[in-house]
């Protein structure tokens, strides 16, 4: 789980870096080029297979571990003040993980399937623009990314503990890197639906002008 989780984190960094091209104010020209590059590059397509396998492995092993852990305490406590000693993020990984998985299904169905599988008559930029014009769609993205932040807040340092790399005198460096992954990256992703909903809505030019 630790290795697949960290691999997914490296993907997130790359994915965000690429998606920040959406902010380039050129009507999506640069982003379309980036999308073309992803579709045509055989190395990317290979890593993609590893990526999907990692997502499945990570989610399945998370589920098995969760089941085993529930079975390890058949009789529950009458009173259990776990919250006194642990962080909220560490107690809700199953919930945050499940929502992220659900998000991924929606996300891949909205972008990956039309752009790479069935083919779409609009380009990547315009598809993003169209999708994020919906308040529900954008709102769901922000919610899912909030949960991704919680998931990584626990998960990032947890992976290093599992690999035996914590408690060795460089924990402060690790938590600085962890901050980038659990705070900066999810915030960066969340800024995309927010930006598109308010400033780049498909038919929202008037709205944007009104707002300014």
């Amino acid at each position: 789980m630790s290795l697949t989780g960290l691999f997914l984190c490296t993907f997130l960094a790359e994915h965000l870096a690429g998606n920040l091209l959406l902010f380039v104010n050129d009507g999506g020209e640069m982003y379309e080029k980036y999308s073309e590059f992803l579709v045509s590059n055989p190395v990317i397509r290979t890593i993609e297979i590893v990526l999907f396998a990692s997502i499945i492995w990570h989610a399945l092993s998370g589920f098995v571990v969760w089941l085993q852990n529930r079975r390890a305490r058949p009789v529950k406590y009458e009173e259990y003040r776990l919250g006194d000693n642990t962080e909220l993020a560490s107690r809700m990984t199953m919930l945050s993980g499940s929502v992220i998985f659900f998000f991924l299904v929606i996300h891949l169905g909205s972008f990956f399937v039309p752009l790479r599988v069935t083919g779409s008559d609009v380009g990547a930029y315009h598809l993003v623009q169209e999708k994020f014009s919906s308040l529900w769609f954008s709102g769901f993205y922000v919610l899912a990314l909030l949960l991704l932040a919680y998931h990584l807040r626990h998960g990032f340092q947890s992976a290093f503990q599992t690999l035996g790399l914590r408690g060795k005198g460089y924990d402060s460096i690790l938590s600085a890197i962890a901050f980038i992954f659990w705070f900066v990256i999810p915030l960066g992703f969340a800024s995309i639906p927010v930006y598109f909903y308010f400033f780049r809505r498909a038919s929202g030019a008037a709205f944007t002008l009104g707002l300014l």
Partner: protein, 246 residues
């Protein structure tokens, strides 16, 4: 001080068990939690009722026998103390106190607040020993171990095997206990001959006993009466990975 107690009563390992409420009066704030139970048991015996069974021995935090889940916390409120070291002044007067046994599949309840922790013994049998003949106590300065290493080994060796780590863990994982034992021996020269097999066998036994998987919640470290650090778990993970790939 007066308290209302809600205590888990269970006749034997097959009994279903239930909570029973008791009132205790005129308890000294300086009495330990176990002494408060003694007062209750004297009263129960006087009334001809069965006293509450609980584990205890040294009553000074060094044997690891005692262990009660008190108000949802292993060894009760506060940190770094076993149930026998917990004083009644930690509670409010007239407070309702819930006392229940450690709950984990590998710790079956034998009676009332007493659980069977022989799963820990079997983990120790699997690898918590050394075969090196160490002779008598050597001269202090003649031992070639640096102070930082000696301190880390000593901190790990402080584990008294009480099981609070398992009780506090949302997954009933025994990682802190096993990590303390593995670390303590892996750090010292006497532990080297079995270093590789020890971690593999103790972890295998831990899994076979049905303890849960560590999800790095760190509830164990917070409730450990000896304040064993979770960095021992990181060390055991390293030991385990190295043992598997070498």
């Amino acid at each position: 001080m007066n308290f209302k107690l809600k205590i888990w009563r269970q006749k034997n390992s097959t009994d279903k068990g239930r909570f029973v409420e008791y009132l205790v009066k005129n308890i000294s704030p300086d009495a330990s939690f176990l002494e408060m139970l003694d007062v209750l048991n004297v009263e129960l015996t006087r009334r001809g009722e069965e006293p509450v069974a609980f584990d205890h021995d040294c009553r000074e935090g060094i044997c690891g026998s005692c262990g009660i889940m008190i108000n949802g916390r292993a060894h009760g409120p506060g940190h770094g103390a076993a149930t026998c070291e917990l004083r009644m002044r930690a509670f409010q007067d007239n407070e309702t106190i819930v006392a229940e046994p450690w709950r984990a599949k590998p710790f079956p309840v034998l009676r009332d607040l007493v659980v069977d922790r022989s799963s820990f013994d079997r983990i120790m049998v699997a690898g918590g020993y050394i075969s090196a003949k160490t002779g008598g106590v050597p001269d202090g300065n003649a031992i070639p171990i640096s102070k930082p290493i000696a301190d880390q080994a000593m901190d790990a060796a402080a584990c008294i095997g009480c099981g609070a780590c398992v009780a506090a863990c949302p997954n009933s994982s025994a990682m802190l206990f096993v990590a303390a034992k593995v670390s303590h021996l892996a750090l010292l020269p006497q532990g080297q001959p079995e270093r590789k097999s020890r971690v593999e066998r103790m972890v295998a036994q831990m899994d076979a006993e049905g303890f849960g998987n560590c999800s790095n919640n760190y509830a164990c470290e917070a409730e450990c009466p000896k304040e064993i650090s979770v960095s021992n778990i990181a060390r055991m993970n390293t030991e385990y990975i190295l043992a598997k790939i070498r």
